[in-house]
């Protein structure tokens, strides 16, 4: 990465919190492993290391507009429900439900209005569920455990059961929900959930630990153990690497227009532009900067060209993908961010940490990063 460094506000050691972001925080009973908002933005669900899930109602289902400089630390209430015997390691929202996955081999589905009526969507025998992906288009749920990927609908009806022959590390649906990209050793397998078409194998030696599919459908991007991104262009069928990361860059997030892929793994949020001829030969925009920190979580705004990054220092920064400057949403507390998610309304951002601290940020519509 060679672009000029756009220093954020943290180089001086003075953390200036943006008046356009109001933070409310609370302490969860266990470490946060993943978080997601419901499709209507009214509920935030956080999966935790003790097998339970915390549910928080956002103050306003529509997302109350934030007035610049409004006081934060709004009182947040949460309830928890124990859904897994061992750690709950992922959560996703589909239709009006949440799905959580656990190291007890279970995927559980529930309505946030009635979590006590949760039921098992699918159960693997004695194997951790490693990944979950959902398609909003088809309301299908893909689950990975060991070398198997199972696709079910929200009633639990089996739609596909695929043995990849290598341990699956991550899953991503295409925008239409017709195909799923499965990352594993030596590459990615793309399989169709709707047609008997033959699987497409994208090969690159090594361990692929994350996969993402551009909303345009054109690009498949994996993160590798060797601290690189590997990109396949499904139109030209060419592939290339993007590197220079000091750490593994397995957190990947696309802006809604497919123009930008934001990644973890550096002391800045790296934002690769896929517009025009793609990122080959162009350096990424470097957004924000935290001295001594590494980005370990990223989330892209559902509409705007904004991305949020969570750091190992505990900071959360929000920046515009085209520029590089960022505002500070959360000050450092030394506890690494483990999860980060925007609400579909775009008005809330949530972050959780290894120590179980949870922050919900209300973000002003006029957030305009200079």
């Amino acid at each position: 990465m060679s672009a000029k460094r756009n220093l954020g506000k943290l180089e001086t050691g003075v953390e200036v919190l943006s008046p356009l972001v109001a933070e409310s925080g609370l302490q969860l009973p266990a470490n946060a492993t993943a978080c997601a908002f419901s499709r209507d933005s009214s509920t935030l669900a956080i999966s935790m290391g003790d097998g339970s899930v915390a549910l928080i109602s956002t103050p306003d289902a529509e997302g109350a507009p934030l007035v610049a400089g409004e006081a934060d630390n709004e009182e947040l209430n949460f309830k928890t429900v124990k859904l897994h015997d061992v750690a709950a390691v992922g959560v996703a929202a589909v239709a009006n439900r949440f799905i959580t996955i656990g190291q007890d081999g279970r995927a559980v589905i529930f309505d946030p209005a009635a979590p006590e009526a949760a039921r098992i969507l699918y159960e693997f025998n004695k194997t951790w569920i490693e990944a979950v992906a959902v398609s909003q288009a088809t309301e299908q749920v893909a689950l990975a455990a060991g070398k198997r990927c199972v696709v079910v609908d929200i009633e639990g009806t089996m739609l596909a059961d695929i043995d990849i022959g290598s341990t699956i590390t991550a899953l991503a649906f295409d925008e239409a929900g017709q195909r799923i990209a499965i990352s594993h050793y030596s590459g990615v397998t793309i399989t169709s959930t709707t047609s008997p078409a033959e699987d497409l194998k994208l090969e690159w030696k090594g361990s692929h630990i994350g996969v993402s599919w551009s909303p345009s459908g054109r690009y498949i991007v994996t993160a590798t153990q060797e601290k690189e991104l590997h990109v396949w262009d499904l139109v030209t069928m060419q592939d290339f690497r993007m590197g220079g990361y000091p750490r593994k860059c397995h957190e990947l997030a696309w802006t809604s227009d497919s123009d930008v892929l934001a990644c973890s793994g550096a002391d800045v949020i790296t934002a690769w532009s896929f517009s025009g001829s793609g990122p080959a030969g162009r350096p990424p925009v470097e957004i924000g900067f935290v001295f001594g920190g590494t980005v370990c979580a990223v989330a892209a705004h559902p509409e705007k060209s904004l991305v949020a990054g969570g750091f190992t220092t505990g900071n959360v920064l929000i920046g515009a993908t085209g520029k590089g400057e960022a505002v500070v949403a959360k000050a450092s507390d030394g506890v690494p961010i483990t999860c980060l998610a925007w609400s579909p309304s775009g008005r809330y951002l949530a972050s959780g940490t290894r120590a179980g601290t949870l922050s919900v940020f209300r973000v002003a519509d006029q957030l305009n990063v200079r």
Partner: protein, 327 residues
């Protein structure tokens, strides 16, 4: 590398190796069932027939991959990175993690995994390689099975088990053979893997900060004279004059580049010219971990000590190359 979470205790990880039937399972069962008040997770390669139904026993796949740099020494256990990362997502704090390798496995991919993966390096510490040796069958298997020999060579701690099933003469022969392969491991003679768990867990054998002393015990004992070239031996080196950092680093780099496949383990505590701190390092094949240790004490003799365990090691050549680094 600076550690973001400096001061946070790392969870110690013990690698348990041993040829089939040596007594690994006996040891694991003790660790899982004894009332020691500590919480360990165990990563095994296959559930036993009776099936251990326990959240703390995790089945690994032993999936090994080569790093894309083409170095055959840098094979890494991808399943371990995944499983250990998953264990760290649990709310319960573990006192330790044990990784059992299959009886036929070369332990180096497991060790290399800890050197290669930054995330593991920060949160977990490879504590020690513990090898269980079957006193009755060791001498038969060691000449036939490559892995049996390697497991002993990689060990920090050896449990010479089933001592009640052999005569004292036989036991002496086994011990002698172990010492030709690995002079430096701590050796416990046991029956039914009966050793205090404190002797094998949380030993800090891979912790550079705890690499205080290299005690080349039994240095004067020469190995049996009928060894073939491929046999593993250990070589220890000593230099009383300070080493020239440039010369030493050039020699090590070239030597490891060329001979990394043969060199199983290295350790060193060095006195470098112009530095008041001890320089400590250790490696497995081609991967190395090094750091500045504590200051040399005023009364301490500033001498450099190094250990190589590997195949086709020529002690005389190594000695003269090491000596040349003091020039």
């Amino acid at each position: 590398m600076s550690d973001v979470q400096e001061g946070v205790a790392k969870v110690p990880v013990t690698l348990l190796t041993g040829y089939l039937g040596a007594g690994k399972t006996t040891l694991l069962n003790r660790i899982l069932t004894e009332n020691h008040g500590r919480k360990y997770a165990v990563i095994v390669n296959e559930f036993g027939e009776e099936g251990i139904d326990n959240d703390l026993v995790i089945d690994a796949d032993e999936e090994i991959f080569e790093m894309n740099n083409g170095c055959i020494c840098c094979t890494v256990r991808g399943d371990l990175i995944r499983i250990l990362g998953g264990l760290l997502k649990r709310a319960d704090q573990l006192d330790g993690i044990l990784i059992e390798t299959t009886g036929l496995a070369d332990p180096s991919p497991v060790i290399q995994t800890f050197f290669v993966d930054d995330d593991l390096h920060e949160t977990l510490g490879l504590d020690a390689v513990v090898t269980v040796v079957d006193a009755r069958h060791f001498l038969e298997t060691v000449d036939l099975e490559h892995e049996c020999e390697e497991q002993v060579a990689f060990a920090d701690i050896i449990l010479l088990n089933k001592t009640d099933l052999v005569t004292s003469e036989e036991l002496a022969k086994v011990e002698n053979k172990i010492r030709t392969l690995n002079k430096f491991a701590v050796l416990h003679k046991t029956q039914k893997a009966g050793v205090s768990l404190d002797e094998i867990l949380s030993r800090g054998s891979f912790d550079l900060k705890r690499l205080i002393e290299i005690e080349p015990g039994l240095l004067d004992e020469e190995p049996d004279d009928h060894e073939h070239d491929d046999t593993i031996t250990s070589v220890s080196l000593k230099a009383e004059k300070p080493l020239q950092p440039d010369l030493f680093s050039k020699w090590m780099r070239e030597f490891i580049q060329e001979r990394g496949v043969d060199v199983l383990r290295t350790k060193g505590i060095l006195a470098l010219d112009g530095h008041d701190q001890r320089y400590v390092f250790q490696g497995v094949h081609m991967v190395m971990d090094s750091d500045w240790g504590r200051d040399w004490l005023p009364e301490e003799k500033r001498e450099s000590k190094m250990v190589f365990i590997g195949r086709n090691l020529n002690a005389a050549e190594l000695e003269s190359a090491f000596a040349a680094c003091t020039a």
